[in-house]
């Protein structure tokens, strides 16, 4: 992270370059997308501000998320019972943000399993996820000073096909009976199959996903569920690093901004429909 002087130099330089570009007639720029551009710049600036604020020691309050507190409890339970932790990072590839978030949380879980010497089983559905997850787990074990406990086969590939993967994971659950099942990533219809099978073997289950349609199934069948943004907040929550926590605060402020914008737009649209103003706000909010 840049120091204050360096940061303002870089920011100033970029701003100056943009002003010069704009004043010279903004060649090649799609004018109809300027609103979106400004929104991205404002939101990014907001995130950077709060990240730097947290880095400088600013206090950030994070409410308790029961599902994340339960992760360590779940690993502890597995250790006591002498059983493994099953971690499912979703069924999609690394081009999905949720899968990357799932792999990041796997890193934190791996630190716990290495600390408690609990066995970890990570069946994956995509080859690139296998490589990324393997590296993440290897790094986690090395950082905890337990590279000897790491084995390549902890993270293993099953199949790309959705239901064949679900069948494979179900088989692992029924045969090995892990004490904890963690589902963190992007899921589709197989979510309930996995969660119900996990429930039938008596495992503690924690799920996290931003797949809207699968959230109800996880809420019904799992002990704890991270819903939507809580899942993306997990990395910050588990690591407690200032930068990530600041990013989380920035995200909350973005949401406050979006809510305010919705209310203002609603008011302006009502006024437009009543004929009290001539300017239709929907025209600038529509992405071209």
């Amino acid at each position: 992270m840049l120091k204050d002087k360096e940061f303002w130099l870089v920011a100033g330089g970029i701003s100056l370059a943009f002003i010069i570009y704009w004043l010279s007639g903004y060649p090649l720029f799609k004018e109809e997308r300027i609103v979106m551009f400004l929104v991205i710049v404002i939101m990014s600036a907001n995130l950077i501000y709060y990240t730097r604020f947290a880095r400088r020691g600013g206090e950030i309050f994070l409410r308790a998320i029961p599902g994340l507190k339960a992760v360590e409890e779940a690993v502890g339970r597995s250790t006591e019972m002498g059983k493994s932790v099953l971690y499912v990072p979703g069924i999609m590839d690394m081009d999905q943000v949720e899968t990357v978030a799932g792999v990041i949380i796997l890193g934190h879980v791996s630190k716990m399993t290495s600390r408690y010497e609990t066995s970890l089983n990570v069946p994956v559905s995509r080859s690139i996820v296998m490589k990324a997850a393997r590296e993440t787990v290897r790094e986690a074990y090395t950082m905890e000073g337990r590279p000897d406990l790491f084995q390549d086969d902890m993270v293993h590939y099953i199949t790309d096909d959705q239901f064949a993967y679900a069948a494979g994971v179900n088989g692992i659950m029924v045969r090995e009976k892990p004490a904890a099942c963690l589902y963190m990533g992007k899921f589709f219809a197989e979510s309930l199959i996995l969660a119900e099978t996990g429930n039938s073997i008596g495992a503690i289950q924690i799920a996290g996903t931003a797949s809207q349609s699968q959230i109800p199934f996880f809420v019904t069948a799992c002990d704890y569920t991270l819903i939507g943004e809580e899942f993306f907040a997990a990395s910050a929550y588990l690591s407690q690093t200032p930068e990530l926590m600041g990013g989380l605060k920035g995200q909350d402020m973005m949401k406050a901004g979006v809510t305010t914008a919705i209310l203002i737009s609603l008011l302006m649209r009502i006024l437009f429909d009543l004929g009290l103003i001539k300017w239709n706000i929907i025209s600038i909010l529509t992405v071209q």
Partner: protein, 281 residues
């Protein structure tokens, strides 16, 4: 009264396999002994029907198959119903697939409807462009230049040699898009990268689970109606006047839903008795 409560509590600890057996019978029996329950179309299904009816004769319709064998019972009936509707009204159908399984489903649907029922000619009345890997990149590619993406169709024929493909170079050359979708990539990608930017109207049919994701787009007018799972397929079959596998499955679904509701009510009675007893003691 206590004896009845005891019995209910005992029944409440039922092994889940009994529940599975009862559900299995609830689905199986109506398939052998149909009830013939009347089917009433919802607004969402009516919108799809109206959108197709509003097309001018000989319209060029792009139908995308994004489902596989697992979701075939829900989506295949609506795909067949839609094809029947399109061919009855004399439209030209272009089929593409964002899922590899979709091509198998498309072949089967078109064999049944276009070939056997309507006796249509491949290459003049309908064409299967086939599957291309790339998820949303395929949609984006079709929006800019179909012929760059599809040099041959699913049967290996050069696209330039197919009469129906004359003057079809990009998505904007179509009059209507229908996405029969079971997940990703699917309806959302078609709306984001094809329908919204080009203005070509789009309708969709999805699994019941996915309807929640698409409903905001239906309400905002970006998607012209939605066929929601097997009930949606059955409703569409009722609207076009040709009952099919969607309709025949609805009796089973009705009874299965009723059985699940009864289980839920029974479970709550058990919970209520347990709560009362624990308060008492």
């Amino acid at each position: 009264m206590d004896k009845i409560s005891d019995y209910i509590l005992k029944a409440g600890t039922i092994d889940r396999r009994w529940i599975f057996l009862i559900i299995g019978l609830a689905v199986l029996l109506p398939l052998f002994f149909p009830l013939g329950l009347p089917i009433r179309a919802t607004n969402a299904t009516q919108k799809v029907y109206d959108a197709v009816e509003a097309l001018e004769e000989n319209s060029k319709v792009l139908v995308s198959f994004e489902y596989g064998p697992s979701t075939k019972p829900e989506i295949h009936p609506m795909a067949i119903g839609l094809l029947r509707h399109l061919f009855t009204n004399g439209h030209k159908v272009f089929v593409t697939c964002l899922w590899p399984d979709g091509q198998f489903m498309a072949d089967e649907a078109l064999d049944e409807v276009a070939k056997e029922e309507f006796d249509l000619t491949y290459g003049e009345d309908y064409v299967i462009l086939g599957f291309r890997p790339g998820n949303e990149a395929v949609v984006k590619g079709m929006v800019s230049n179909i012929r760059k993406l599809y040099t041959t169709d699913a049967r290996g024929t050069l696209v330039d040699n197919i009469p129906l493909m004359k003057n079809i170079n990009k998505v904007a050359d179509f009059d209507f898009i229908f996405s029969a979708s079971a997940g990703y990539p699917g309806t959302v990608e078609w709306v984001q990268y094809a329908s919204d930017p080009t203005g070509v109207p789009l309708s969709t049919g999805t699994t019941s689970i996915m309807v929640n994701d698409i409903m905001p787009m239906v309400n905002s007018g970006q998607v012209k109606g939605i066929l929601a799972g097997m009930p949606g397929a059955a409703e569409y079959e009722a609207l076009i006047g040709t009952p099919g596998i969607g309709t025949s499955g609805m009796d089973a679904q009705s009874i299965a839903h009723l059985v699940i509701v009864l289980f839920i009510i029974f479970g709550n009675i058990t919970y209520f008795i347990e709560t009362q007893r624990s308060k008492k003691y």
